[in-house]
């Protein structure tokens, strides 16, 4: 059976992901890659909402946080087995995403964007204030790890595989959606909502559902995060994280499922670099990453609004066509 070069690339890539922990013996690095996997799940959802459907979600960390806190409450406080807590958290976050979407998607443009930001702000306020429920600013600790039939995911390598298997599953799921009637409807809505509606596409229903799906993905990622480090606090889900997520989507290519891994990886590694090196060079400590990400996001949106990787591919293809024409 003959494989296309794209299919070979996918197989090599998946193999690399699955073999990485055997090569990288360092637990901290393995955890970094696990984090990239979690952010990939988040970015894929954001890519569907922003890249394909053309909507905005500037407060996406809200759903990451909802998933994490629901998982924590169910498994640590209310005795629900961790695997069930994770599934319930994903589904519940999706439902919440749908319900919140109903009033939010009545808005358009900048108002829609502000509403998603407002969502994140409100979420953090609730988490910080409902101390009895969430542990407040000090956080929620002792979240139990996932266990399946006695097998406990309580070390970095096991969590790495769990997260990446789920991340690859989420990508598969999203690619199926993108290459279907649903994907075409979303892209149609993005380009011309009025034309899409003139052909029978219920634009509002699609926007709500894609938003709910992305929220569901984020909820699963949040639950996995809680079960990986066993402690969560509001700082991990605030508006700065939402901006990092949008930057990841922008770098990876807004309408690119595979690009999400690249975007997530680039931002996580860049953040690490900024904290370690830039702090040294300029003698600053504190949240300087946000300055770099802010600037990066603006530059990307100006030069390649369809996202960095998609835009670079376009520029490269145009350059190549020009080279061919000159011969």
């Amino acid at each position: 059976m003959k494989y296309s070069s794209a299919q070979i690339a996918v197989i090599v890539f998946v193999a690399a992901i699955l073999l990485a922990p055997l090569v990288v013996r360092d637990n901290y690095q393995t955890f970094m890659f696990t984090l990239i996997g979690l952010y990939t799940i988040l970015t894929v959802g954001l890519s569907l909402v922003m890249g394909y459907a053309g909507q905005v979600s500037l407060g996406h960390a809200t759903f990451y946080g909802i998933g994490a806190y629901v998982t924590a409450l169910l498994s640590a406080r209310w005795g629900v087995p961790p695997w069930a807590a994770l599934i319930i958290a994903g589904l519940l976050t999706g439902v919440i995403g749908y319900l919140l979407g109903v009033p939010i998607f009545r808005l358009r443009g900048h108002y829609l964007a502000m509403a998603t930001v407002g969502l994140n702000v409100i979420f953090i306020l609730i988490v910080k204030n409902e101390v009895d429920l969430t542990g407040g600013p000090s956080g929620f600790k002792d979240i139990p790890p996932l266990s399946l039939a006695g097998f406990v995911f309580d070390n970095d390598v096991r969590m790495y595989y769990l997260v990446w298997v789920i991340a690859l599953g989420v990508m598969w799921h999203s690619l199926n959606i993108v290459n279907s009637r649903v994907g075409r409807a979303l892209r149609a809505i993005h380009t011309s909502e009025v034309a899409a509606e003139s052909l029978g596409v219920d634009a509002n229903a699609f926007k709500l559902k894609v938003f709910a799906l992305a929220a569901g993905y984020a909820g699963i990622a949040g639950g996995l995060y809680a079960q990986a480090i066993h402690f969560i606090s509001p700082a991990s889900f605030d508006i700065l994280v939402s901006i990092e997520l949008v930057t990841m989507a922008a770098i990876g290519g807004l309408a690119s499922i595979w690009g999400s891994i690249f975007g997530a990886g680039a931002v996580v590694l860049l953040a690490q670099f900024i904290r370690d090196r830039l702090g040294e060079w300029f003698g600053v400590t504190g949240e300087q990453e946000i300055i770099v990400f802010g600037v990066l996001l603006v530059v990307i949106m100006v030069l390649t609004p369809e996202g960095l990787t998609t835009g670079s591919l376009r520029v490269f293809r145009e350059w190549r066509t020009r080279m061919k024409n000159e011969q």
Binding site: H173, S174, N176, I177, S180, R181, V182, G183, R184, A185, R187, A188, H190, T191, S192, V194, A195, A196, E197, S198, L199, G200, V201, D202, A203, K209, V210, L213, A255
Partner: protein, 265 residues
């Protein structure tokens, strides 16, 4: 099933303080080709938007296929068989020609987030059926050779044909074409003329807004003339050409139908 496919009664619409459509009534019969003409700003495209549900109307009623559609969302009206195209060509630029037409077939499918995401049985079969149907529509307008090209890489006239193929894929009972000849060359307009005739031969009623009088006078069974948001005349092309109000408002005293393009009335 009555003889009338679309009845618009007393349609009124204002934007800000401007009365765009001031009480217009239209009756379109099944399988006829009806043209709406008039100077720019007369309210023709607004009428299209009001009938298709793209804008809400201030006053009036629209009955389509014996059912009221005023106040209904445009995707619902489309599902009932009323499909429209756009004056400024709303082609989906991020998709290929074939994918554009497949969006037209959206109503023929039912794959949703869950069935698509998990590749449930039936999805692949439906996808093939939709793809084949879309290719048929492209063949019908003569554009099947460009199926896999990006839609916006085509010359304007061909994009227009793709938009029509997309509208046909939605299985319209009534097809509303908004200035389909705009931006087309003479040979392209002739192709369009033939296409509209064939569409009607297949049982689809056609309502068109058009400025190309050669096309309109040659192809329309009946027409209505709008000026400043009101209907000033209605009748057959011959009646319109003889109507002094119409000549004064729009046609112009010196207007004469181009002989090569004329068709026996």
């Amino acid at each position: 099933m009555s003889d009338v496919i679309l009845e618009a009664k007393g349609i009124q619409k204002s934007f800000g303080g401007v009365m765009a459509v001031a009480g217009v009534s239209l009756t379109i019969r099944r399988k006829e080709i009806f043209a709406l003409i008039g100077p720019n700003g007369a309210g023709k495209t607004t009428m299209f938007n009001l009938i298709s549900g793209a804008h809400p109307l201030d006053q009036g009623e629209v009955i389509f296929d014996d059912k009221p559609i005023h106040g209904k969302p445009s995707y619902h009206i489309a599902a009932m068989g009323l499909i429209r195209t756009f004056q400024n060509l709303q082609i989906f630029g991020t998709m290929t020609v074939l994918e554009n037409v497949m969006v037209g077939s959206h109503l023929r499918g039912k794959t949703g987030f869950i069935s698509a995401g998990f590749r449930l049985p039936g999805v692949a079969v439906e996808e093939k059926r939709v793809r084949d149907h879309a290719l048929e529509m492209l063949k019908w307008v003569g554009m099947e050779s460009r199926a896999n090209d990006m839609a916006t890489s085509l010359p304007f006239g061909q994009q227009r044909l793709v938009e029509i193929a997309r509208a046909l894929a939605a299985s319209p009972k009534l097809l509303m074409l908004d200035e389909p000849a705009a931006g087309l060359t003479r040979p392209e307009t002739r192709i369009l003329d033939g296409l509209i005739s064939r569409i009607r031969e297949n049982g689809v009623t056609v309502l068109l807004v058009e400025h190309d009088m050669n096309l309109v006078m040659g192809i329309a069974d009946r027409m209505a003339v709008l000026q400043y948001g009101s209907k000033i005349a209605e009748g057959t092309p011959a009646e319109m050409q003889a109507n002094t109000d119409v000549i004064g408002a729009y046609l112009g005293v010196d207007w004469e139908m181009d002989k090569p393009f004329a068709r026996a009335v």
